[in-house]
Amino acid sequence: MTALPLEGVRVADFGWILAAPQCTAWLGVMGAEVIRIESRQRLDPIRFLGQNPRDLKGPDGSPLFNGLNYSKKSVTLNLNHPRGVELAKEIVRRSDIVVENFTAGMMKRWGLSYEELCRERPDLIMVSGSPLGQYGPDSHSVGWGPITQASAGICHLTGYPDGPPVSLGGTWPDYMVGVVMTYAVLAALYYRRRTGKGQYIDLAMAEVVTAMLPEAVMDYVMNQRDRGRRGNQDDIMVPHNVYRCRGEDTWVAIAVETEEEWRNFCHAVGHPEWIEDERFRDRRSRKAHEQELDQLITAWTRTRDRLDIMQLLQAAGVAATPVYDTESLIADPHFQQWNFLVTPGHPVTGNHPVAGIPGKYSAIDTLRYTPAPCLGQHNEEVFGTLLGLSREEIARLHEEQVIY
């Protein structure tokens, strides 16, 4: 079997909630040994989310946690105890990468700042994720991802035309930031392999979000214009919207960019006369009559099935796709064939499909999916085998609530 990309890499993972765990799941699946450093003192709230409130199974019973923290190990360490901090440093000394996403300043308070940890491990790579970054006047701010992004501009740009700014679906941007964190860590790892030098990465969620709004930022900078909210519409493409189909709350998304796509679209929906229609003659005229055109298109889509529309229009080279809810996406033959879902299994929650890590790699036969760890599952292994503590000492540390 081919070596996995991150074989031999060890990660001391202080991450919690969503963004950092998405990053370390990627690293674990790719072969890194990821050691989650947790504590009963400050349990990852995700360990309780998504459980049936009438049938709580404790910190190991969360589908949400177990669907995000596969391919990792878990130890419990009380970082408010000096010996707990010492042991955390012992783990870091044997690690290549530290990942954390506490409120800025927290790691320093524990005596686990990058400077401090570099004394243990001079070539350490450490990434800190936080809402607004580790320094600057507002760096102390607290925020979940979806709240933080409001300060970055994207909520302002999301909403129906003339409506208020709205909240975004998909716990945006947490998992997206997890992917960005992964990229940053891997770039730093590449540099270290070349030069032997580690470094510190200060990642601000808000900055990642704003860096993904080039059109809006540049329009403001160039023209002092705020683009505001445009619903499903686009600057350039018309038609560009979601259209009602047969069935309750069922929609198809259609986007037409080129003139060739437009002509193909008109023929495919059986309205070649639209091509000659003065109102729709070119992109500019279509934009000016967008509402009328959308009504005409809806008259055609609303009596049809969304998957039939996709097939018909895609055969004509037009980007038409169903608007999917979770269940429809799971049932879709393309996603099934792509093995989008994986089943790492779990001793408490059982064998259920969950989302894997994106991408397919031609030189990797099997990615490493192992069950998410139960809380403290690897205490013996990490403190005994990796750090070399005796059985008695481990028992004592349990008793003193250092391993806790």
Binding site: A211, P322, V323, S362
Partner: protein, 409 residues
């Protein structure tokens, strides 16, 4: 100029629009050398997209193009002309990575698909970004940002916990080109994964990124919650209907909007303090996290009514003092002028011969040893033809002139 984290990596980009160019931009910004291939004559289609200064279209002044292509070398090349693919192979010869976004099968037909390139250059990593990936029944289907956001469930969930009238609140795209740029980040992380594997094995590979899949990962809790629930369980039902089942997090206040979410015990206690302990909030109904979830509509109505009478910045400031996750919803002027961004030098000024100096979003994260940096602005169309074809590949001036008149470059 300091070395970047990716200095020494050589990338050829055969792509246009958003996802491919953004993937190579974030790698170029960390020091990788990127040679961007554009169609002779017209170039990357984003050159025709706005925004333009003064709204005057100009192929060298598109804000979208300029941002997505910093730090790259630009050459023109038409792969469909005779001699085009030979020249392409010359460009690839010393490269570590090819990033391409062609429809699956197109490069194979030109004789430069992954298998052909791999046989010839086994260390090469080919990162292919397409809407649906290289395999599966939809692999040849088209999809733009709108399609990917909506098929990947994010559109169905937007506006989040806000839908009370599905008939008049269609599923909603999120602002900008988030699906495309997310696919770019995903491809960059996956490409670096393959680069690190190559250090162990010495062999390249094809990295196959499907934009729709990258988007669907943003709703990853849904899949776990769905699969763990019995068919009649409450978590299943909520995925079948696009209606409100929990707390929205954007609320109007007297002079704008705030984003606020205070459900944990600690946050809820702090929020009660901030609200001045109103009677409704002290109700037993809201005393536990479970109670707050079960009575979410009443809780939201109470919070929303209180927020609507507050001033935005004052509320956000006082809330943060009590460690409540609350931020103002900022518009573009406020984003571009934010003090926190300024103190962190987030925005950078980039000089470009056609636009003069302009402000761009800068480093999305800060590296201590190998800083993110802009070394050069986006290339003008074919700007580096002479440098790459002449100096690098050693083609004579006559040969370059011939290629130009043949429309190859």
């Amino acid at each position: 100029m300091q070395a970047g984290a990716l200095t020494g990596l050589k990338i050829v980009e055969c792509s246009e629009r958003f996802a491919g160019p953004f993937c190579t931009k974030v790698m170029a910004d960390l020091g990788a050398e990127v040679i961007k291939i554009e169609k002779p004559g017209t170039g990357d289609v984003t050159r025709t997209y706005g925004p333009f200064p003064g709204d005057e279209p100009h192929p060298e002044r598109s804000g979208t193009f300029l941002y997505l292509n910093t730090n790259k070398l630009g050459v023109t090349l038409d792969l469909t002309r005779p001699g085009g693919t030979e020249l392409f192979r010359e460009l690839i010869k010393d490269a570590d990575i090819l990033v391409e976004t062609c429809p699956p099968g197109l490069l194979d037909r030109l004789g430069i698909g992954y298998r052909q390139l791999h046989a010839w250059c086994p260390r090469l990593i080919v990162t292919s970004i397409t809407p649906f990936g290289q395999t599966g029944p939809y692999k040849e289907y088209k999809a733009y940002d709108l399609n990917c956001i909506h098929m990947g469930v994010v559109g169905y969930e937007t506006p989040f916990n806000f839908v009370t009238d599905p008939e008049n609140q269609p599923p909603l795209k999120i602002g900008g080109h988030q699906a495309d740029l997310l696919a770019g980040w995903t491809a960059a992380a996956a490409t670096m994964t393959a680069v690190l594997q190559r250090e162990l094995t010495g062999v390249g590979q094809q990295v196959d990124i499907a934009e729709i899949e990258a988007v669907a990962h943003m709703v990853r809790p849904n899949f776990a919650l769905y699969s763990h629930e019995p068919p009649d369980g409450p978590n299943r039902r909520r995925f079948l209907r696009r209606t409100k089942w929990g707390l929205a997090y954007v609320f109007p206040c007297r002079d704008g909007h705030v984003a606020l979410l205070a459900l944990t015990d600690q946050h809820w206690e702090s929020l009660k303090e901030l609200m001045g302990h109103p009677e409704w909030a002290e109700s037993e109904l809201f005393a536990t996290l479970l109670g707050r979830f079960q009575n979410i509509d009443a809780l939201e109505a109470g919070v929303a009514a209180w927020v609507s009478e507050q001033d935005r910045d004052e509320l956000a400031r006082r809330g943060q003092e009590l460690h409540i996750p609350v931020f103002p919803v900022r518009d573009m002027r406020e984003v571009v002028t934010a003090t926190q961004y300024r103190e962190r030098d987030f925005f950078v000024t980039v000089e470009h011969p056609e636009t003069g100096p302009l402000t761009y979003p800068g480093a999305p994260f800060k590296f201590s040893a190998t800083p993110w940096q802009i070394r050069s602005p986006a290339p003008r169309l074919g700007e580096h033809n002479a440098q790459i074809y002449g100096e690098r590949l050693g083609l004579s001036a006559e040969r370059i002139a011939q290629l130009r008149s043949d429309g190859v470059i």
